[in-house]
Assembly symmetry: C2
Homo-oligomer: 106 residues x 2
């Protein structure tokens, strides 16, 4: 969890897992997270998943060009197809621009 | 999980729970969710929390004025103080504007 600058891009991905094929899903999720972190313009990621399989991943990018480049990455495109085929029953994705932010720590 | 229109506001709240005072926290979270849903300009909310207490809540608003009005609501302000005092060890909040969105369902 990290504060990102105004005008950066936050991609909000909400998805309901089917619950099946968990080992392959976890391996792919880790590999995609690692690969995303190597892309130009990557700023960070936050992720939470509830016990019922509903998850939110927010990835943060320096600009829209870097977010789009990650969307179009061949490995990412391939895994997205597998996600629709095997892992998810539904998802939504919003590409947003940060207007202001705050953080706090005890 | 729902698709929201371009130019709407998405408020991304990431927070680490302390783990203490769970019953009071759950009651307050439910009450705040219900109250938020009654505010002008409210579009919806997505929420996930992992077993380690890390959670993401995204609330969606018609415009920045309605997001700010909810931020400044007296009950919300009061509960935010209690959150810092009792429930959270850290949080980040990004106010963002939706540039584009997609959804998919099996």
């Amino acid at each position: 969890m990290q504060l990102h600058p105004n005008d950066s891009i936050a991609v909000i991905f909400c998805a309901q897992r089917c619950g099946s094929d968990d080992q392959a899903y976890q391996a792919a999720a880790t590999a995609m997270g690692d690969l995303a972190a190597q892309q130009p313009g990557y700023l960070g990621e936050d992720h939470a998943r509830s016990a019922d399989g509903f998850g939110i991943t927010v990835s943060y990018w320096q600009d829209d060009a870097s977010a789009k480049a990650w969307r179009d990455h061949p490995d990412h495109t391939l895994i997205r197809e597998r996600g629709r085929d095997k892992w998810y029953s539904a998802y939504s994705l919003h590409v947003t621009r940060v207007e202001r932010g705050y953080d706090w720590q005890k």
